[in-house]
């Protein structure tokens, strides 16, 4: 019980600390949890979701512990820079193993709001926690949000130069891609992107809205993006059936098959076969990636798009 009392006193003292304002400005950032500060540049970082792993790897930092590393490798293909195989497995994203996290003695924990929500106070006792909302309010363009998240994290781990470098590299790639596509006469061509899933009863199409990250990449590659609906801005996508594609017949359709069964079911429907972009073969398949708020996958996505149009 004395311990308990000590503990309460301790947390009371800690809660007064922000008023002392003794910390260096550099080590404090604003994220969707409020203000997060680290004592010194963080080097032992734990990542509690796939996006955080990508942010760290993009900045050249190997995390010391991650949740579901097998899933990360499976769903991203673990392309360079690779996630080290010696990384500590912390269990599921929704319930990371707190003891193992503590034993790693990290100096920063990264995650997203929904994953750290349930155990925030425990995680905060271990190390400063920084988390981003998956779908922040304000309905902003998700590409810019991703880049600003990257820079924010870079400040915590002292990798501002690497962040600049990554952004510049992405810019150059987009620029090269733009010119290559322009040489094919594709500038301002209307396109729309969907993610095809088998669904429980017929193919489901996750249709991206103009403010979604992949749509923004397509815009920066010179295309004009055809789907822009105020209702879908909050999440940047809507899940719908093939009926909706009727509205986008004039655009080229880019699709990412989430599973084979999904495409099979889509092709079965006569609607699909009679859509103008299908009849005129203005269809482009792109490998499935989880691009949302994920820098490495974003980079790969733009390469995929350029090569899809070149072939």
């Amino acid at each position: 019980m004395t311990y308990y009392r000590r503990h309460i006193l301790g947390s009371m003292v800690l809660s007064l600390l922000p008023f002392c304002n003794a910390k260096a400005e550099d080590h404090c950032i604003h994220d969707d949890l409020g203000e997060t500060c680290v004592d010194k540049t963080a080097s032992r970082v734990v990542a509690l979701d796939q996006q955080s792993i990508e942010f760290l790897l993009a900045l050249g930092v190997q995390p010391v512990g991650v949740t579901s590393p097998t899933n990360y490798r499976k769903f991203t293909g673990n392309s360079a820079p690779e996630l080290s195989y010696s990384v500590q497995d912390l269990g599921l994203s929704s319930s990371p193993n707190i003891e193992l996290t503590m034993a790693l003695q990290p100096d920063l924990i990264l995650g997203n709001i929904t994953n750290v929500q349930k155990n925030l106070s425990l995680l905060k006792e271990i190390a400063p926690v920084s988390a981003f909302a998956s779908y922040p309010s304000g309905h902003s363009d998700q590409f810019t949000t991703m880049l600003s998240n990257l820079r924010t994290i870079a400040r915590l781990v002292g990798r501002a130069t690497e962040a600049d470098h990554f952004c510049k590299m992405l810019d150059t790639k987009l620029d090269t891609g733009y010119r290559r596509l322009a040489s094919l006469g594709l500038t301002s061509k209307p396109v729309v992107l969907g993610n095809i899933n088998a669904g429980a009863r017929g193919a489901e199409i996750m249709l991206f809205n103009q403010n979604a990250l992949p749509a923004q990449i397509l815009k920066r590659l010179g295309f004009s993006y055809a789907c822009n609906d105020e209702r879908y801005r909050e999440k940047g996508f809507t899940v719908t059936s093939v009926e909706t594609l009727m509205e986008f017949e004039n655009a080229d359709f880019l699709y990412m098959p989430f599973n084979e069964k999904g495409m099979e079911r889509l092709i079965q429907t006569p609607i699909w076969r009679n859509l103008r972009f299908v009849r005129e073969k203005r269809l482009h398949s792109i490998p499935y990636r989880l691009i949302h708020n994920a820098p490495l996958s974003t980079r790969l996505f733009q390469t995929d798009v350029v090569s899809a149009f070149q072939s």
Partner: protein, 678 residues
């Protein structure tokens, strides 16, 4: 008289036909692409083919036809179930068929994707069959009283859903896709499914119609039926097969759509129809119209992302209907529904005659062993005994010390306390509802809490855990309070309380379902639905401890009066008990304790059910010893389950609620077998 009967039969059938045609036409106009009515008419009169033709003929027409067939099949299977069980308040959905099918489908998608791709119907039907068999076993066979059948349905549904949720949590990526299956919907991807399904359903419906006369006879009691020359076994066998085929196949195609089978047959009978030869066709017509109308309603709210699942819409219509049925039914019918008096208790002999102090000491030492084992070995980090001792002495700042004091000890304490709390609440509910199958799920507490937490998460995605706990508390209290308030007018009889509780739970479930579907792509909503002391700290411990310290003495003081509640009302009155006040007080304490526990860890089912049973096995029906032992057993159960949950798939963790469900279901079966033998 005869002509009046004929007249109402004609009106019901004709009205059904008109309603079906109208809703069918209306349904075709609705969908994701906006197509106006004249364009739709053109499809049928123009020979020119275009995209609109494809959409209407390839998507909407099969959808509407599926609506007719599914609605008809569900309504008829409901009518058959009610007649053959002579039970006016059951429908296949309430007997756990949905939960069984969904569990099997999730299992198949995760572990045998090929089987699922090739034989989805087989998977779904066998799941339904298993669930129904379980329900029958637990309720004690076909002649079980209506209420008991319903409660065992609820129970089996709860435990199967618990397993399903655990599987989904473990397979995060697949779960987003599978959750979609559980949202009932009529959507079709062309004519394939329909072609596969219609022969089965049409043949079954025809068979059911041929059985109409036998059903008229079977609705009487079985002796009378046998007296009239019916081969009762053969008839009930055929009817059960028909029920399984009709509802199983429909569920495989449309996903779970509940309550159609309850509402439609009732409305038809309400209109004064008595003969099955008319009831069944009327059910087909009105079932189809109801389902199509509900489906048409869902499109008003947007496309797949925003559309509420059809199953949730029918539950939103059906659950209040069940409530209305209980609250406003004529006295005679109510008697049929609520007649649960005679066999509502498991008549189990004690298994030991050891003195109470010995049993108590035994369980306490089990708990202490659990504490030691939990502190030393359970969790990701391995500690040696000397490290553990040092940590307990308070070797400041070491990792071992922080793990023991900040993580393991509070979590273990919370598991023990929450187990005790749920068990205490369960004991109270079983006394108040005078039913051994009662639990905090039955009075709506778990459902209300789950719905309220998800609602808060939908409104404020980044809400802190204490706010979510608070909203769970409010949800539990509101749902429990509502159940009591509604039952109050009818004199708080156990039967009414239970059915009102089941309806409220179903309503909350529908609401949860809608929120779950909406947030499946953007969040991790499942972790709030299945309880675990994961991530709880000392502040939770103090809240739980205060709850128990206040509640336990109150219950202890009321012990004798609570004991009298188990008798029937007249005897209790005769012994000078104010039955209603006692029921109200005990129920209020139960609801408060259960809500507080749910708000701390999320709903952990089964403890409140099993712990009181185990206590009764050990000390018989004495109230005070039961009130002492049940919480102790509950504590040991949840403590052990939580340790297991952290060990089985380390470093990942299972939700504790799922582990309890895995222990609980077989135990309950064992208990039932014993009570049947006794």
């Amino acid at each position: 008289m005869m002509t009046k009967q004929r007249q109402s039969e004609c009106i019901v059938l004709l009205g059904g036909a008109v309603a079906l045609v109208f809703t069918f036409a209306l349904n075709i106009t609705q969908g994701e692409a906006s197509i106006n009515f004249s364009a739709i008419l053109n499809v049928f009169f123009d020979t020119q083919k275009n995209l609109t033709t494809d959409i209407i003929l390839g998507f909407r027409l099969p959808r509407a036809i599926m609506g007719c067939i599914a609605g008809g099949a569900l309504a008829v299977s409901g009518a058959l179930t009610q007649s053959i069980l002579r039970n006016p308040i059951v429908s296949p959905g309430l007997l756990g068929i949905h939960a069984g099918s969904f569990l099997f489908i999730v299992l198949a998608v995760i572990f045998a994707p090929l089987l699922m791709a090739d034989h989805p119907f087989l998977v779904s039907i066998s799941g339904g069959l298993c669930a129904v068999l379980l329900v029958g076993l637990i309720a004690g066979g076909r002649s079980a009283p209506p209420l008991r059948m319903l409660l065992s349905g609820l129970l089996v549904g709860m435990s199967l859903n618990g397993l399903t949720e655990a599987l989904l949590i473990l397979h995060e990526e697949q779960s987003r896709q599978i959750i979609g299956w559980n949202a009932g919907s009529l959507r079709q991807n062309g004519w394939d499914n329909l072609q596969l399904v219609w022969p089965w359903i049409i043949v079954s419906l025809l068979l059911a119609l041929l059985m109409a006369h036998q059903l008229d006879v079977a609705r009487l009691d079985s002796d009378a039926a046998r007296g009239l020359g019916q081969k009762t076994r053969l008839v009930s066998g055929i009817v059960f097969a028909l029920i399984l085929i009709l509802s199983g196949i429909t569920i495989a195609v449309t996903g779970p759509i509940g309550f159609v089978g309850l509402v439609v047959p009732h409305l038809v009978k309400q209109a004064g129809i008595r003969r099955h030869a008319i009831i069944l066709p009327a059910c087909i017509l009105w079932g189809g119209s109801l389902l199509l109308a509900a489906d048409t309603l869902t499109y008003q709210l947007g496309n797949l992302t925003d559309t509420p699942p059809l199953g949730a819409v029918t539950a939103m219509i059906g659950a209040p209907f069940l409530l209305w049925l209980v609250l406003h039914q004529s006295h005679g019918d109510r008697g049929v529904i609520l007649n649960e008096g005679q066999t509502s208790r498991f008549s189990l002999p004690r298994i030991t005659y050891a003195p109470l102090w010995l049993i108590t000491v035994f369980i306490l030492s089990l708990i202490i062993l659990l504490l030691i084992a939990g502190l030393a070995w359970v969790g990701g980090y391995s500690l040696s005994v000397s490290q553990l001792l040092q940590a307990l002495h308070g070797a400041k700042g070491s990792i071992a010390e922080r793990i023991v004091w900040n993580i393991r000890l509070p979590r273990l304490c919370n598991a023990l306390l929450v187990g005790a709390g749920f068990a205490l609440a369960g004991t109270l509910f079983q006394a108040v509802l005078r039913n051994p199958l009662a639990d905090s799920g039955v009075v709506g507490v778990s459902g209300g809490a789950a719905a309220a937490s998800l609602l808060l998460l939908a409104l404020v995605p980044a809400a802190p855990p204490y706010a979510i706990g608070l909203s769970a508390l409010c949800g539990g209290l509101c749902a429990g309070g509502a159940v009591y308030a509604m039952a109050w007018h009818l004199g708080l009889s156990p039967g009414r309380l239970s059915i009102i509780g089941i309806s409220v739970a179903a309503l909350c479930g529908a609401f949860t379902q809608i929120l779950l579907i909406q947030s499946r792509f953007t969040g991790n909503p499942l972790i709030w639905l299945i309880g675990s002391p994961y991530g709880t700290s000392w502040s939770t411990t103090s809240l739980l401890a205060v709850t128990l310290v206040v509640a336990f003495p109150c219950v202890w003081l009321m012990a004798e009066r609570i004991g009298l509640l188990c008798l029937n009302d007249q005897s209790a009155h005769g012994l000078g008990l104010d039955v209603n006040t006692t029921r109200l007080l005990a129920g209020a304490i139960g609801i408060t304790v259960a809500s507080l526990c749910v708000s701390c860890t999320g709903p952990i089912g089964y403890v409140g059910l099993i712990a009181p049973h185990m206590a009764r096995l050990l000390v018989g029906h004495l109230t005070r010893p039961n009130l002492l032992l049940a919480p102790l057993i509950g504590a040991a159960l949840v403590g052990a389950a939580d340790c297991l949950a952290r060990v089985i798939i380390a470093p990942a963790e299972l939700p504790t609620g799922a582990v309890i469900a895995m222990i609980g279901a077989p135990y309950l079966l064992y208990l039932t077998r014993r009570s049947l033998k006794a």
